[in-house]
């Protein structure tokens, strides 16, 4: 069974449709990359997966998104619990202006899901998983804003995984980073994919090609509504896409 499954998802901002008829099955413990030109709706779709769009006035979804088979837009859905299960990493690193430790401990503390004794262990484990532990272990009380951008982004990943999510959404997680930090995050993603389902939106097609198992290509139709044009194994999408629009976009000849 896919970890996440969208079926005929439509999405509207204040009555204006921005996504139409999106159906996609996202496999568990794999990396799925969503690519497409700016304004194609890929980030909107990503934010539907943990209902981040709910906070936008006038935003409305129609259709179904299932997480482990359960409709996340059902009335009975606990949205806080949903966002614990489906975490998110953003474009620019956004650590809280607090210590490294407090950033990672923040989620578990809010969720009260941890007993006091093991919080240290959880912080360490999360920082280790995020590949940051060795760089910060000697001074966990340092202000997180003194870290480099690449370290800050890994701290945000540590903060995300500290609440033990099942899915990690990443919206252009490397766009503010230099190539070395970008490759570190990509390596980290490959390692995290052993335990988490990852969905990443990226403008960098080489990144999608390098890091993902599956790729979905979004593009607007004649009515400027975002559609999922094609979805499949990354190696096929980047060597033999089926749809000429996919071919046009990934070879740089779209439009």
């Amino acid at each position: 069974m896919p970890k996440i499954e969208a079926e005929h998802l439509d999405f509207f901002y204040s009555g204006r449709q921005v996504l139409k008829d999106i159906s996609i099955a996202i496999p568990e413990r794999k990396i799925t990359a969503l690519i497409g030109p700016s304004g194609c709706g890929k980030s909107t779709f990503l934010r539907c997966l943990n209902r981040m769009n709910d906070t936008i006035r006038g935003a409305r979804a129609a259709g179904i998104i299932r997480l482990d088979g359960d409709d996340i837009y059902a009335d009975t859905q606990d949205v806080v619990r949903l966002r614990q299960r489906v975490g998110m990493v953003f474009q620019r690193p956004n650590p809280f202006p607090q210590s490294v430790y407090s950033n990672v401990a923040f989620g578990p503390r809010v969720m009260r899901q941890n007993h006091r004794g093991s919080l240290d262990a959880l912080v360490e484990q999360s920082l280790r998983e995020a590949g940051l532990w060795d760089e910060v272990k000697d001074d966990l009380d340092q202000d997180s804003l003194t870290l480099s951008l690449g370290q800050q982004q890994r701290l945000c990943i540590a903060r995300t995984i500290a609440v033990r999510p099942e899915v990690i959404l990443m919206d252009e997680p490397c766009s503010a980073l230099d190539p070395i930090d970008t490759l570190r995050i990509e390596d980290l993603m490959r390692a995290l994919a052993a335990d988490y389902t990852i969905v990443i939106v990226t403008h960098n097609m080489q990144q999608a090609a390098r890091v993902s198992d599956e790729t979905g290509f979004f593009m607007v139709d004649e009515q400027q509504i975002g559609r999922l044009v094609e979805h499949g194994p990354t190696d096929r999408i980047f060597t033999s896409p089926k749809d000429p629009r996919t071919e046009g976009y990934i070879t740089g000849r779209y439009g």
Binding site: Q206, A209, T239, S240, E247, T251
Partner: protein, 228 residues
């Protein structure tokens, strides 16, 4: 939107592959002509020309590597470059066959031919026709033509079998013919393989155009059995 740098480079590469193809085909035709006419100087010249073929092949290969590194081609562009890498390798090997036939002419030396050369030039004509069509299919992304060309391979195979039978008969009739018969059989073998490589090129054309690998190797089944 277009990609002028990549598009121009791809176009130039296609032309360079076509030029390499012409050079190789010319060498195949000439090598058999010099063999038939017993023109040793011509054969020596051709053997030197093979160096140019090799150089051109490596130059094209290098340009393809640079394009992959600098332009990050994907999908159809990537398949085109991969196909060209294969095709230039096939062409370079066919060039080696022409060189081999030239060498055979020199090895036979002043001795008179044990049989008039009729079928071997015919094999060369057919192999070259197949190669020319395969290159045309590549140039024009003509999948139908690429599927059609390999069906001609059996004609070359039949000619090879005939040459093989005749040469075996000559050896049986007079064992002193063995050495030259062996040389001539190698020449025929080279042409038979050249035709097979036309089939390989056609497979690449189909892959390039459709993204699908289609094995068209009935030549494995048709491979001369050595005097059936």
């Amino acid at each position: 939107m277009t990609r002028p740098t990549l598009d121009t480079a791809l176009q130039n590469l296609k032309q360079e592959v076509a030029a390499l193809g012409e050079l190789v085909l010319s060498n195949v035709i000439q090598s058999v002509r010099y063999l038939k006419e017993r023109d040793f100087d011509g054969s020596k010249r051709l053997m030197k020309l093979d160096v140019i073929i090799n150089r051109k092949r490596f130059a094209i290969e290098n340009e393809i590597m640079v394009l992959i590194a600098t332009q990050q081609p994907l999908a159809g562009d990537l398949r085109l470059l991969a196909a060209m890498l294969e095709i230039i390798t096939e062409l370079e090997r066919i060039g080696d066959y022409a060189k081999g036939i030239s060498k055979i002419n020199l090895l036979i030396g002043e001795a008179s031919l044990i049989k008039p050369l009729v079928d071997i030039p015919l094999m060369a004509d057919k192999a070259v026709t197949m190669l020319r069509l395969a290159l045309k299919a590549f140039e024009e992304r003509d999948v139908e033509l690429a599927r059609e060309v390999p069906t001609q391979d059996h004609e070359v195979d039949e000619l090879y079998n005939q040459v093989n039978r005749e040469l075996m008969a000559l050896i049986v009739a007079d064992p002193s013919n063995t050495e030259q018969a062996n040389h001539l059989l190698w020449a025929a073998h080279n042409l038979e393989r050249a035709a097979d490589r036309a089939t390989n090129i056609c497979e690449r054309v189909i892959f390039c155009a459709t993204g699908k690998m289609e094995e068209m190797d009935d030549h494995f089944g048709m491979r001369p059995a050595g005097g059936d």
